[in-house]
């Protein structure tokens, strides 16, 4: 290890480290703009010039490797002169408009100009002007004259987001950051470029001119949108959330968050927030006091139990509810004597009773994603389902040579180097995985599992099996589609066999924010699950935090069941049109920023958070509402003083691994392979439903800026050219889609669109959108006809 001296301090420098990295380790600050620890070295801003003994000129610390015996001076007169000179150059064309700049108060350029600049400039001539640009609804490019051409934004696109959307056009004093032909920036990670931009060139459009950074409180929180559990800093003023930023946690989200994590806060201030309890009186929803609404709910539930039995009650929690909320909800339900409770509304196929549904998790720590040698991802629109896992796999493929394989239902570009990418129709997904299992068994010369007799491996499955077998750390991940599939259990069984044969571990990405927390909360059904509680309609439903008409696997089925029920109690931060129609009691509960609680992420990390602002209107934390409800129902065990008390009862601190990870997570399953699951559908069109990233939960659906992005475009009926021809359709024409279920037939009229990435015979129709909510199962048969 080379030994170097920085400002008189001797240090051992890691092999290959730059002066900048060594100084950072040492706690010596060297001013910089273009350098960022997660990006490649560009060395174009020259702000980091330092003096090195025996070097003829100052050298850029970010690009100069530390060599043995090197003596670095960061504050010598030569270094200071260089820094001042660079600062003067950087400011030549800068508008110096800090008073009207959104970055003011949190601007690297401002800070460094104060710390390292001279008081005045020699430059008196005219400054250049760079025209503003429009990059979509998230990033504001109104003042591009402020850009200092550090290219952080360009490198972020190339290296982290996997898609280069910004580029630096022209040369010398004509350089400017552009998108190709002024197109919008569509990456699901784009907001990070706002953080990276060291000046006020790229700023947040929704936050623009809304507040000054020093007026804002900043409190830690956790994102609910996916199972990463990204760490957030939530900034608020006057009890209104104004902005959300990433909070660095190398083991979870590094320094990034997805745009969904970042901009969904706008939904917190939606006009559709429910702020007063309501009950239905003579067919009309009326605002009432909390006590009245809770009495009504308790009375209604007791009445159902008395007249029809507790089994007539069912409760469904959103998988983005907190651990505490889910725990208390199931406690109320079980206290009443019912086992009909679940938190997995998008699932179709559940492990048969008697088979323990262990708490399904990632199977490893999130940070280990970067170190894998092989990753097989089954059934995931990975970039849009869980952007930061995709980001880690992208880095792994790039820097670690990880062989990433995707077996999915569409050829959506994951923007990473792929070992194999197999695209199949939903009904073929189990068979596609079965082929890999059989190929692996044959390659390993172990007995082929019973049930795979008819399966014939093909070339891709052989290659995937080989990649899992070769030495190194391998994982098989089941994504959102795999767990929401009509044969989810069989897919799990096949993945288990593949794991047993190849030695690769099995993991679940998790289809929602607090899915692992749900398993741990005790909210697993002991009677009807999130599907059977609707196929076998109940008389009373309690809904927590979801919009069943959009968030269930089959909204049609759910709505039919809700409509026939006698009592519908809805605990929700929002009120939707559908709720106005079916709800009997509406209880305004606090979203994650207004309550304390706990999310457990995919790796089992238990992350508790506090409320950041006080609840809006009369909204109250759901755990408190459920506690009161429990008491009103005279049930035992509802005397918790705090959400922490609830959490500690569910996850006793002494059971946590390293004090922060839940124990007892288990991905194992033991069931025979069912050959019937391996038969693909013939002669029918199949629906492929993705859950578009900005429709995935009630909060993000109400975030206006996200709703203006490309990813939030209204759903179309996407088909390959062949499918279009078969259905007698042309792209652009209206198409009538119909799905049958036991609840009847549901219809939607959409525009047919050509997408050769959709498997032949399939129609890709997104779920979770009002335009498609009248349809049925996410992956079922669908009828297609011209209008």
């Amino acid at each position: 290890m080379p030994e170097i001296e920085i400002d008189g301090q001797l240090v051992q420098a890691p092999e290959g480290a730059t002066i900048m990295e060594v100084a950072e380790q040492l706690g010596v600050y060297i001013p910089h703009f273009c350098y960022h620890k997660k990006l490649s070295i560009a060395a174009n801003c020259r702000m980091c010039l330092v003096q090195v003994e025996k070097a003829a000129k100052p050298v850029p610390a970010c690009a100069t490797p530390a060599t043995n015996g090197m003596k670095v001076f960061t504050h010598s007169s030569l270094a200071v002169k260089a820094q001042q000179g660079v600062m003067e150059f950087l400011l030549i064309n800068h508008p110096l408009d800090c008073p009207i700049c959104d970055q003011g108060g949190e601007c690297q350029l401002q800070d460094l100009a104060v710390g390292y600049g001279a008081g005045a400039s020699h430059y008196q001539e005219e400054k250049r002007v760079v025209f503003h640009k429009d990059a979509g609804s998230l990033i504001s490019m109104q003042e591009m004259s402020r850009c200092i051409h550090c290219t952080r934004c360009v490198r972020f696109g190339q290296e982290i987001a996997g898609v280069m959307e910004f580029g630096m056009a022209n040369r010398t004093m004509h350089s400017e950051i552009v998108t190709f032909l002024g197109r919008s920036v569509d990456s699901e990670l784009s907001g990070n470029m706002i953080d990276l931009c060291p000046v006020g060139a790229l700023t947040s459009k929704p936050f623009r001119f809304a507040a000054r950074s020093w007026e804002l409180s900043r409190l830690p929180s956790i994102s609910l949108h996916d199972s990463v559990g990204a760490n957030l800093t939530v900034q608020a003023r006057n009890h209104r959330v104004m902005r959300v930023l990433p909070r660095e946690n190398e083991a979870v989200n590094e320094c990034w968050i997805s745009d969904r994590d970042r901009f969904s806060y706008e939904g917190l201030n939606s006009p559709e927030r429910l702020t007063k309890p309501m009950i239905r009186v003579d067919g009309q929803l009326r605002e009432v006091e909390w006590s009245v609404a809770l009495d009504y709910a308790a009375h209604g539930l007791r009445d159902i139990v008395a007249r029809h039995g507790a089994d007539e009650i069912a409760a469904l929690a959103a998988p983005w509810s907190t651990l505490e909320e889910m725990h208390l909800l199931q406690k109320v339900v079980r206290g009443l004597g019912s086992g009909n409770v679940d938190f997995r509304p998008r699932r179709y196929d559940y492990a048969p009773s008697g088979v323990p549904a262990g708490a399904r998790w990632l199977g490893m720590r999130i940070a280990e994603l970067n170190e894998l040698d092989t990753a097989l991802v089954v059934g995931s629109f990975v970039r849009k389902d869980i952007p930061l896992f995709a980001q880690r796999l992208r880095q792994a493929a790039k820097h670690n040579g990880t062989r990433v394989t995707l077996i999915s239902l569409g050829n959506d570009d994951p923007l990473m180097a792929m070992h194999e990418h197999v695209v199949v129709a939903p009904s073929e997904l189990p068979a596609a995985l079965a082929r890999v299992v059989k190929a692996a068994a044959l390659q390993c010369r172990v007995p082929v599992p019973a049930g795979l007799e008819a399966i014939v491996p093909d070339i891709p499955s052989e290659a995937i099996a080989t990649s899992l077998r070769v030495r190194g750390r391998s994982m098989i991940f089941l994504g959102r589609v795999a767990v929401q599939h009509p044969h989810a259990v069989q897919i799990h069984v096949l993945a288990q066999h593949l794991s047993d044969i190849t030695g690769a571990n099995l993991g679940f990405f998790g289809d929602s924010g607090n899915i692992v927390g749900g398993y741990l909360s005790g909210a697993l059904p002991s009677a009807r699950n999130a599907r059977t509680m609707f196929t076998d309609p109940r008389r009373a439903y309690v809904m927590l935090g979801i919009e069943p008409e959009l968030d269930c696997h089959n909204p049609q089925l759910t709505l039919a069941a809700l409509r026939q029920a006698d009592l519908r109690i809805v605990l929700s931060p929002f009120i939707s049109e559908a709720m106005r129609e079916y709800a009997d009691v509406l209880l305004p509960v606090a979203p994650f920023t207004e309550t304390s609680g706990t999310f457990v992420n995919a790796e089992g990390r238990v992350q508790s958070f506090k409320g950041v602002v006080r609840p809006l209107g009369e909204a109250r934390p759901a755990w408190k509402v459920l506690r009161v409800l429990g008491n009103l129902l005279n049930l035992d065990g509802f005397d918790q003083e705090s959400s922490e008390e609830v959490r500690d009862a569910v996850l006793p601190p002494e059971t946590l691994i390293d004090g922060e990870f839940a124990s007892g997570l288990d991905n194992g399953i033991k069931l025979p392979i069912d050959p019937a699951a391996l038969v693909s559908a013939k002669g029918v069109f199949e629906r492929v439903a993705d859950v578009p990233i900005y429709f995935s939960d009630p909060l993000v659906r109400r975030a206006p800026a996200l709703q203006k992005t490309r990813d939030a475009a209204p759903p179309t009926a996407r088909m390959s050219a062949r499918t279009l021809a078969e259905a007698g359709l042309v792209a652009g024409a209206p198409v009538r889609l119909r799905q049958e279920s036991i609840a009847g037939s549901g219809e939607a009229v959409l525009t047919a669109a050509l997408d050769d990435g959709v498997p032949d015979g399939c129609v890709r129709v997104s779920a979770a959108h009002p335009a498609t909510a009248a349809l049925g199962d996410m992956f079922g048969t669908i009828q297609v006809e011209p209008v």
């Binding site: 898609v163 280069m164 580029g167 056009a169 022209n170 040369r171 552009v178 190709f180 032909l181």
Partner: protein
């Protein structure tokens, strides 16, 4: 828009680089596209980018960096006059002004008959022969006194 001939030429350029490094051929590919179409429209740049499997904005960076790529239509003859310092000291700017007066057009403009476009260029490595004028990116004309310029213009039909 890329003709089969252009594509064949681009393929030959791609073949010069290791497999998977086809982006390295971007400069040659853009030049080939420009030769066939006269100038590089955004659509053409995108087509080249897609063909090479690179982001369009990356190809745009290259096309806007180098002077020899024309991002607007040019006349049949493009005259690029070097005005960098050594040339400037030896009459480069005078040559440019003479041309402007003679042709009645300004910098980056084209004569109404579509014959000649006037451009200003960076050092062409021929400072010793200043002033220099480059015709259509290919033909270098040295020591361009007014008389030489007249001769050149007469020759360009």
């Amino acid at each position: 828009m890329l003709t089969p001939e252009s594509l064949a030429r681009i393929d030959r350029e791609i073949a010069k680089y290791p497999v998977g490094q086809q982006q390295s051929a971007v400069m040659a590919a853009l030049a080939i596209a420009q030769e066939a179409h006269g100038w590089l429209s955004p659509e053409l740049i995108e087509e080249v980018a897609v063909y090479l499997g690179m982001p369009p904005v990356a190809a745009l960076e290259v096309a806007t960096f180098y002077n020899m790529y024309d991002l607007k239509p040019v006349g049949r003859y493009k005259l690029t006059v070097c005005t960098n310092l050594p040339c400037m000291l030896s009459g480069g700017v005078d040559a440019l002004e003479y041309l402007q007066k003679k042709l009645g057009i300004g910098l980056d403009e084209t004569t109404p008959d579509g014959r000649i476009t006037l451009k200003q260029g960076e050092c062409m490595g021929a400072c010793g022969d200043a002033p220099v004028v480059l015709v259509n990116n290919r033909r270098m004309c040295a020591s361009m006194t007014p008389a030489e310029i007249d001769r050149l213009l007469a020759e360009l039909d």
